[in-house]
């Protein structure tokens, strides 16, 4: 086993020699800068779209806060008190109840 271990170490050393550090070809640096520029332009494009999206979202939010929300809030339901709203909502019910009461208890003839 010890022998095998040593052989493996020698094999790794031979592998190191068989794959020495080598200088890249002439196209290495231009190729690298082409890749950097390509990625940069895609990053710039993505950033531009993100900015457009954020601006559009901010504009919509502003529009909602300036136009839509005051318009909705101007309704009576948002300006009156809870009791007012409740009573207004129950006006029909009250009238109906009164009619029912009248129907259940017919008026007696007036006593002379």
């Amino acid at each position: 086993m010890q022998n095998l271990n040593q052989n493996l170490d020698s094999l790794f050393a031979a592998y190191r020699e068989a794959c020495p550090d080598s200088e890249p070809g002439d196209r290495f640096m231009p190729g690298l800068w082409n890749k950097i520029e390509a990625r940069q332009s895609s990053v710039i494009l993505l950033t531009r779209w993100s900015k457009i999206f954020v601006t559009a979202a901010a504009a919509i939010t502003l529009l909602m806060s300036v136009v839509l929300i005051p318009h909705v809030q101007s309704r009576e339901v948002y300006s009156s008190s809870y009791i007012d709203v409740l009573s207004a909502d129950h006006t029909y019910d009250n009238a109906l109840s009164a009619e029912l009461v009248r129907a259940d208890f017919p008026q007696e003839a007036p006593v002379n």
Partner: protein, 197 residues
Amino acid sequence: MLVDFELIERAQSGEDAAFNQIVRAYRKRILGTIARLIGRPEDVEDVSQEVFLRLYFSLDQLRTPEVFEPWLYRLTVNAAYDYLRRQRRRSEARMSDLSEQQVLMADAAAGGRARDEEQRKTQTRELVQSLLSTVSEEDRILLILKEVEGLSLKELEKIYRIKENALKVRLFRARQRVLKAYEASQKLEASKVDKAG
């Protein structure tokens, strides 16, 4: 360090000329390391460019220039790992070719002819690549960094951000697996030589 801290700081501030100098200083070493990690000469430049590309876009995340080299090695390891993962199918195919390569080596030994230097190197590369295909991509990279690149455990600890003991265990297991495959290949080679004899 092949470059000084000031150059790294200048590159970090976006100076392309400084980045160019860093690439020129390290490209030979990175190309060699990538060649030994992936074992496919035709893809070495592509993977090395990927390393420097990642360096360019992540240089601003480097907190101190002192840790530049482990940082660069980490990028190298990651790029090699990504490449190897993409090539997994091919490496599996190579694993099945193992016996064929061993037969070739055995034939060469049996023939007793002295092959020229380049052929011997090619055979060594193929044998080591075949042996390393018996372990995972992570272990293969770790083993090469330790056994072939000659990095110390301390250096590996900085690159992997893993405790030394955990690294030792991983290295031991990976080496045992490679040893087993190597033993099998030696036995096969010996039997071929016997038959030829």
